[in-house]
Symmetry: D2
Amino acid sequence: MAVTTEIGYTTPDAITVRGKNLSSEMFGHFDFIDMVYWLNFARLPEPREKAMANLILVAAADHGLTPSALSARLTFLGAPESVQGAVAAGLLGAGSRFLGTVQNVAEMYKLAAQDLDDQSSEAAVLECAGKLVQAYRESRRPISGLGHNIHVHGDPRVPVLRDISEQHGYFGKHWRLALAIPVVLEQTHGKRLPLNGAGALGAIIADMGLDGIFGRGLMLVGRAAGLVAHIREEAQTPIGPDLWDLVLDQDPRNVRASSGY
Amino acid sequence: MAVTTEIGYTTPDAITVRGKNLSSEMFGHFDFIDMVYWLNFARLPEPREKAMANLILVAAADHGLTPSALSARLTFLGAPESVQGAVAAGLLGAGSRFLGTVQNVAEMYKLAAQDLDDQSSEAAVLECAGKLVQAYRESRRPISGLGHNIHVHGDPRVPVLRDISEQHGYFGKHWRLALAIPVVLEQTHGKRLPLNGAGALGAIIADMGLDGIFGRGLMLVGRAAGLVAHIREEAQTPIGPDLWDLVLDQDPRNVRASSGY
Amino acid sequence: MAVTTEIGYTTPDAITVRGKNLSSEMFGHFDFIDMVYWLNFARLPEPREKAMANLILVAAADHGLTPSALSARLTFLGAPESVQGAVAAGLLGAGSRFLGTVQNVAEMYKLAAQDLDDQSSEAAVLECAGKLVQAYRESRRPISGLGHNIHVHGDPRVPVLRDISEQHGYFGKHWRLALAIPVVLEQTHGKRLPLNGAGALGAIIADMGLDGIFGRGLMLVGRAAGLVAHIREEAQTPIGPDLWDLVLDQDPRNVRASSGY
Amino acid sequence: MAVTTEIGYTTPDAITVRGKNLSSEMFGHFDFIDMVYWLNFARLPEPREKAMANLILVAAADHGLTPSALSARLTFLGAPESVQGAVAAGLLGAGSRFLGTVQNVAEMYKLAAQDLDDQSSEAAVLECAGKLVQAYRESRRPISGLGHNIHVHGDPRVPVLRDISEQHGYFGKHWRLALAIPVVLEQTHGKRLPLNGAGALGAIIADMGLDGIFGRGLMLVGRAAGLVAHIREEAQTPIGPDLWDLVLDQDPRNVRASSGY
């Protein structure tokens, strides 16, 4: 029975994180990405890894009134004293359909691409994509990482994420498989479902050799920063009460008092 | 009735975050701290602000088996499919006593130091600290940011946080007030309760001119990264089951089967 | 150092909850309210206590698309595999402004009514209410439990909650104080802010002699049941995607694709 | 686009829940189980359904220092002002391995037993169990609802849950399948893994004709009540700080100050 961690320990005089003194060796020497890598992998990131980790966090942060931002704002409305509760409520939607998808997609690509390597022929990659599509159809599971309710003609993030991946040497077999899946889907089933942001980020995670939990973890860290911005705006110029009214007004059976409050 | 945000909006072809195109102007150009500032303040950080933000995130990340790490690990034990739930459970303890304290402390310093400026005399700062101590005693509220259960002779993080703050020009009236409070407490009540990490981080937030919600928000973002490291370790070498057994063994009325499971 | 609980313990052959065998003495013998009282107070409820606990749970459950129901539904949209995450997100808004208010109100009434008893004169109750109103005005804190954004002329729940309280002998000094506060507010400040549901439930909790945490706890238990109904409806006939569209449509800068998805 | 619910609506004078007036028709008339059924199914429960719903809630409530109770207590330690956060943290572990298992098990039984009926022969039930065991082995998925780390010779709750189910006419094909699975496992693979509490509750949910989300929902509602008892005990006689020390003491690299705090 061992209830211990390799992450860190504490004495009256020092906090040690994976062998380094937090105060004297990390404060002022480590930036946040260094710390993320040190905590998770007990090593510092290479420059190209740092660039990619920053990219993933920036991509995860947020943009506008997504369901997770709405959930955080509606929670803050009832419990403004608990910023942590509003952030937690916003993160809890990072499941199999939004954000958390990155983990599922990365794991799906890794499993499917086991017999490929980065130099595999285009035909081999397409065959691998074909097998994946068929297996998912047979077990009636949806393939994550495809299509977008707003960016119906193609997610504008994907080509830029691809370019930056290539630039840093992370355009490998998983990215190639990810891009081959929509090609196969269109050829064999006539469906046009382009790769979306979560699919591209899952390919990045897999081509960087990172595990799926770490991938989902980066999404949560990045999104937390976006939620803080939404909560701060909500504290200053709240939309929660109007959002509630807007929803009630969708059903004529709800009647609001004429005089307001 | 306006249910809109200034943070961002979306069209089929572009995601815009505070006026900039996410894909073409931010991916590859912004690092994570740039993004945090852009989302929250619609501007990029100065270099010294970036250094301090990195410092705060590094300080918040985690070290060892804190209550928030334990809560995340125990949650993962029951719901390994929901990494977001484990991270949320770990963040929910960031309240008035741990981590979230930074917000409370920053707001307390700001309110108390309204009539000070960075050049106020030492006597004026001590007087201000004295008034704060007296007001909290009279209303029987504890003063946050003082003392530590392990670092009883002084929190080893505080002097380094102070040095780095000074180096970047953020050692102002709030830091001075924070350091004066333990002096007053020892002089007038004979109690030795040195400033702790949360107190120092609250002083930094206040001296950087940032609001309390943003301060607590940075703590949550940084801690999320530490929780991801704990969850990944838990997935690989779980301590949750042994921790549960260890707790049950504290009460002899609990009897575990000899054969294990 | 004792890490033990009086709530229960376990052996290979039996689970014991506060001295009773869960399987042989509680299953089939205890209803849920019995269990709530047994767990919390190590005794069974009197019939009138059971009636009131049922009333509180029924009142807390839910009605329509409240912020907590919306937050749960938006969370389910992203993570349908984690019903617990959607329920948790819905509960996290039960803070100082919604639902959780019951705890704050009960504690406020208890503190203010310390020198009253159930037979105090009407004048004494009004004087007590006057002092409370004045103290809150002086410290610029809002008085919880008053007013409602929809039920502007009076919350329809309050008279029925009062009648049932009286019927069971729980209309005491806290209820009387709660009803006196709006009278004082109207007389002295000309403001019409009738007692709301949370105020009435806080009065019930206080007049039943229960603590504030238990009061907030009952609200959370009851609301969880309502959230389950919302999540089940969301699983069958989702409104989350339309809600998201509805919100985006409030800002003309958001452009959705004409073809939908 | 319809953002409406059939659960309820509100006017200045009345709250309506599935067609009934909350104040005049439900307060004082409905007990909590009535409300749960009314909210979820728009009908009142039969007496035997009420008995079973009470049984499930009692079984879910809690017993001793489970991971969910520990997570709630550790969260309360940092954020005592947010009881809702501590309850939420405790519920977030109700996933595929603990508590939430009831949903997964109920859905597994329902799918597997589609071709059985309550009067199917014992041979047919065993054959169905055999197919399920084989299918799970082939896809290398664990079968939920079996075995227990403490109750290694058989979960003491199971026979009582079975008796009460029979007594109320809810011992049908799902219960029979649930009990046949361990028989098959022992015959064909020599493994002794008796049905556990979650397995029995899943069988009850399925034999009552309820859906899996409702099943997991009842577990969450019941557990919330147990968590409230733990949080109240933690507020009065905290074990959180000692639990933290106990954990730190497991690793000799952690050194606590001799003088305490």
